[in-house]
């Protein structure tokens, strides 16, 4: 071993990383969003149009719903991002710690055109919607599934997959079946317990859910409609159900401005652009999610599909919208109950 060379290399390796972080565009708008297709779509559809219109470049911080929340929480007061995309009930968590800035509606003229249900609060507004509903492989499951109560059929034992990072949907449905809802959800407990041995697997990411459907290991799922349509496009025969007994559970992804950001104006412009009819039409095409703007153009293959609402009436009838605060408050308790009673062997 030649010590001098080794020492030099070691010292170099030590110093290099500290030689600064590459400079990024100082005036860029930093947007926090989910990765993969979500980020690609926001970038291509909204970001590019925004930069073309305002000349302001956009950069993206990518991650999961909750690790982005964790990073926002510790950066309170001196935010690392300017604008955040997150689910509507998690946004309540941001709001509870003062991480969002109140929206200046005067700077969001397009907000007047969107569905009322998409105006979630003074701090956050919907960007697109979807449902969690039943999706299944008709080629692997030789029977028709048309309603939520079909999930309890003995013939489907061992074929079902559902999310365990957030059991809100199935818990709410079970509660609705017993005359309750997400607030007095205990009414559905015994009904839920019956599902215990039916579940083949629980998934914690979009990718896992799609994998289980692709490989057929979880051919019947409580699935995010966007993921299901994504698979359809890849040629996998997935049927998405508009259940006849209770609607699918609606999810609304939202945008908000971070408190303490120096780019509040730019952030508002971004949001306003995202709510415009043209951009909403592009979003529907690219994401296969439902628009918040009822006037958005929806491609023929998506019209009438679960999760795609085309009018104010459809928002009310074809989806069940949970109470955000109740959901945020009950989620930890739900997870604990769910793990102890449904997931555990």
């Amino acid at each position: 071993m030649r010590p001098r060379i080794v020492v030099t290399v070691l010292v170099a390796l030590l110093i290099l990383p500290l030689l600064g972080v590459p400079a990024r565009a100082q005036n860029a708008l930093v947007v926090s969003t989910w990765g993969g297709n979500w980020k690609d779509t926001v970038e291509k559809v909204i970001g590019k149009a925004f930069t073309a219109k305002t000349g302001i470049p956009v950069e993206y911080e990518v991650g999961g719903t909750i690790d982005r929340l964790a990073k926002a929480r510790v950066a309170k007061g001196n935010p690392l991002v300017d604008l955040t995309f997150t689910t509507t009930h998690v946004a309540r968590l941001y709001i509870s710690d003062g991480l969002y800035e109140k929206l200046d509606m005067a700077k969001l003229p397009h907000a007047r055109e969107i569905a009322r249900e998409a105006l979630r609060s003074d701090y956050h507004v919907g960007s697109w919607a979807y449902v969690y509903t039943i999706a299944y492989r008709p080629d692997l499951v030789k029977e028709d599934i048309t309603k939520w109560s079909d999930l309890w059929k003995p013939s489907l034992k061992g074929k079902i997959a559902m999310p365990d990072f957030d059991p809100s949907h199935i818990i709410t449905i079970a509660a609705l079946m017993e005359g309750g809802n997400e607030i007095n959800w205990q009414k559905g407990e015994s009904r839920l317990r019956q599902l215990k041995d039916s579940v083949a697997a629980f998934f914690s990411t979009d990718a896992q859910s799609q994998d289980l459907m692709k490989t057929g290991q979880g051919p019947v799922q409580v699935m995010l409609s966007v993921n299901a349509y994504h698979l359809q496009e890849q040629g996998i025969a997935v049927k998405v159900v508009q259940p006849t007994d209770y609607p699918g559970v609606v999810g609304i992804d939202t945008m908000a401005v971070m408190a303490g950001t120096k780019k509040a104006d730019a952030a508002h412009q971004f949001i306003n652009l995202a709510l415009s009819r043209e951009i909403q039409s592009e979003l529907v095409k690219a994401l296969r999610a439902g628009p918040v703007h009822p006037g958005a153009v929806v491609p023929a293959n998506l019209r009438g599909q679960p999760g795609i609402f085309l009018s104010a009436a459809e928002w009310k009838e074809r989806g069940y919208i949970m109470n955000d605060e109740a959901r945020a408050k009950n989620l930890p308790g739900w997870r604990e109950w769910f793990t102890a009673n449904i997931v555990k062997k």
Partner: protein, 262 residues
């Protein structure tokens, strides 16, 4: 000589500071639906003494112990071959094949096992995926390269002269192994065993992906609490509890191992 320990202790102090930053939260009251916390409380510790949390700790210890033993058994022959083979080519091949899984990355290796253990490649007589069996296979596979390398390093220190001497005195290969090689390689076995055991205690991607939500080890529960439920007080309390118990376990095992090795 004792002072040589100081730099390592500085590193650990930084790590301890990070843990302390989280553990602060264990004494704060968790308010579901809010990021705000209430006042000081011991409720979080009471909460994590529930059966599903203690059960996860127990399951983790058992699974880790099983993994360690199985890994040892599987790794020893390969390590022996690696350290003892006279052929340079064989050694290179063995080394590359041992290192390759390392560089496949934890996530990818686990996905590969998802493929193999699911019934797409081979049809298994008993369900492997989303069961404890499957997770065990994944964990053993994960630890094998580590164990092989440590054992090979240990074995390389044993002068083959001892083995040759024993053989020339009439001992069978099995006897040589039992009476000469095995005892002399004890330090390596203990070292490797300890690190595999310790690392498996905090395993995350393997049970997360191969367990399908049904096999929860300590790290999965911390993620469930700290991320999905956003219950930092609960996650901190549970992490503290698990850490205290596993460190006590490690000290006990470590004491046993140094006693046996000497």
């Amino acid at each position: 000589m004792k002072l040589l320990l100081v730099p390592a202790l500085v590193v650990l102090a930084v790590f301890a500071a990070a843990l302390a930053s989280l553990f602060r939260w264990s004494l704060l009251e968790f308010i579901p639906g809010s990021l705000q916390t209430g006042g000081l409380t011991l409720a979080n510790f009471r909460g994590v003494l529930a059966p599903q949390y203690l059960g996860a700790i127990q399951d983790t210890v058992v699974l880790s112990a099983l993994t360690t033993v199985l890994t040892l058994v599987c790794a020893y022959p390969v390590a022996y071959a690696l350290a003892r083979t006279p052929s340079r080519r064989v050694r290179s091949v063995l080394l590359v094949l041992t290192l390759a899984p390392f560089f496949t990355g934890a996530i990818v290796r686990t996905y590969a096992w998802v493929l193999v253990l699911g019934n797409t490649v081979v049809s298994w007589p008993v369900p492997m995926l989303f069961t404890e069996r499957g997770v065990l296979v994944g964990l053993v596979h994960f630890s094998m390269p580590t164990m092989i390398l440590i054992l090979a390093a240990a074995l390389s220190h044993i002068d083959p002269i001892y083995e040759r001497a024993a053989a020339s005195l009439g001992a069978s290969p099995a006897r040589v192994f039992r009476r000469v090689t095995l005892p002399l390689s004890m330090p390596g076995i203990m070292s490797g065993g300890l690190i595999v055991f310790a690392w498996t205690l905090s395993a995350f991607p393997t049970p997360e992906l191969l367990g399908g939500g049904k096999v929860k080890m300590i790290a999965n529960v911390v993620k469930d609490l700290g991320l999905d439920s956003f219950n930092w007080p609960g996650a901190a309390a549970f992490a503290m509890l698990a850490l205290a118990l596993t460190l006590a376990l490690l000290t006990a095992v470590g004491r046993l191992s140094t006693a046996r090795a000497s």
